[in-house]
Symmetry: C2
Subunit: 241 residues, 2 copies
């Protein structure tokens, strides 16, 4: 019934989003239209449109007559985003627990299962990180999906994306001493038990643990260069052609 007309700008949006979140484009990096056009084989107009959307989501920044750049990262902003995500997501989880029906439960269980399998494969070094990231996102979206508030969901997605970027910028490896599977399972279980307080608390702790891990990596010297006026040397490798 409902067609899905996909436009070139949508494609560009998807590509850019993926490459920014995955860290293929580094924070602060210049996003030159000319380069992007032959990287994606998409014209300048759709690209500009996609970049405009992303700039409203603060994944890229658009400066006056100076073009687009990937939004910079900083420890301070990591803390800021994390605090906001905690605020939004604990509220959303609580409401979801209160309002969720059976369909929600099964969505959650299904998403958890797929994520759990990906975790498994990662631990055996036979899985892709991209896949894990996608399923992790889907799990967290499933959990809050029953909160009944489109805006909470929208904000959750927004902040999750920002958070994911930080995670992937710094976490190319896995932390060995962390039981992610257990954390996810616990969140789901609290939801199934309809224990809103526990679900919210576990979610908050889950976020906090991630923040600590990323924090450690960021603080340990490997801080990407902060954007300053015109000092944006392309220290990264767009690696095209």
């Amino acid at each position: 019934m409902d067609e899905t007309p996909v436009t070139l700008a949508d494609l560009a949006d998807g590509n850019l989003r993926r490459d920014i979140l995955s860290g293929a484009f580094k924070p602060g990096e210049k996003l030159s239209i000319a380069l992007l056009t032959n990287r994606y084989a998409i014209g300048a107009s759709p690209l500009r449109e996609a970049l405009s959307r992303l700039s409203a989501e603060h994944l890229v920044v658009l400066e006056g007559k100076r073009g687009f750049t990937v939004a910079p990262v900083s420890v301070a902003e990591l803390d800021d985003i994390s605090a906001c995500r905690r605020l939004i997501e604990t509220e959303a989880v609580s409401q979801a627990v209160a309002a969720g029906d059976e369909a929600w439960e099964s969505r959650m269980v299904a998403a958890f299962h797929k994520l759990d399998r990906a975790e498994e494969r990662i631990q055996q070094d036979t899985g892709s990180l991209d896949e894990w990231e996608q399923r992790n996102r889907e799990f967290h979206e499933a959990v809050v999906s029953a909160c009944g508030s489109p805006w909470l969901i929208r904000l959750q997605k927004l902040l999750y994306a920002q958070h994911e970027r930080y995670r992937r910028v710094s976490l190319t490896f896995r932390e060995p001493d962390r039981d992610l599977r257990g954390e996810h399972r616990a969140i789901m279980q609290a939801c199934l038990d309809r224990d809103a307080a526990a679900a919210a608390r576990l979610s908050a702790e889950h976020i906090d643990r991630t923040v600590l891990a990323v924090h450690a990596v960021l603080a340990a010297g490997n801080v990407p260069p902060r954007r300053t006026r015109s000092s944006t040397r392309t220290a990264s490798l767009p690696n095209r052609r």
Copy 2:
């Protein structure tokens, strides 16, 4: 020295934002590129870019190959937005009270004064509503400005804009039995007294009162006759196909 290069897309953004928030463009109304180009005397490309940004903020919606429309309104979404704004703004106010310095206090006092004067003029029927709206926005932004969290501020702006649109769509007249000046003064006073709990509570109540008022208007029949701006189609009905 930071220059401020203003681009045509920025101009279009500003114009569109103003006209959507003020209700000159009605919810659900089609935003045809051709019409907009000679309304603002701005080319199609900058317009498209501005509309893309606004669609990321959910002030306009972009459907597949069907063009842009002003985002629709509904009572359900009003409640949703209001709840989110309450969540964000109470948190931001609390943090601002905890972290605000003297400069913050004076920003707030100054903004309150300007708003209060506008209130005064409105009550005497010698003031413009646009001016009042701007100063109201500036006051609320001043209150949260010291919260120390750029993302909380960003979210506050986002939700405030949505809320403003609802207010202006339905509130062409003033509610006589409401002491807005007193409410604003009370919020500011609680902030100056460094009473975070009271400031948060008063802000929440402030939002809730607004919601009730808008709710009443929205529920009692549809959108009241706004200023004549080539009202093309039915504005408030969720029209499909």
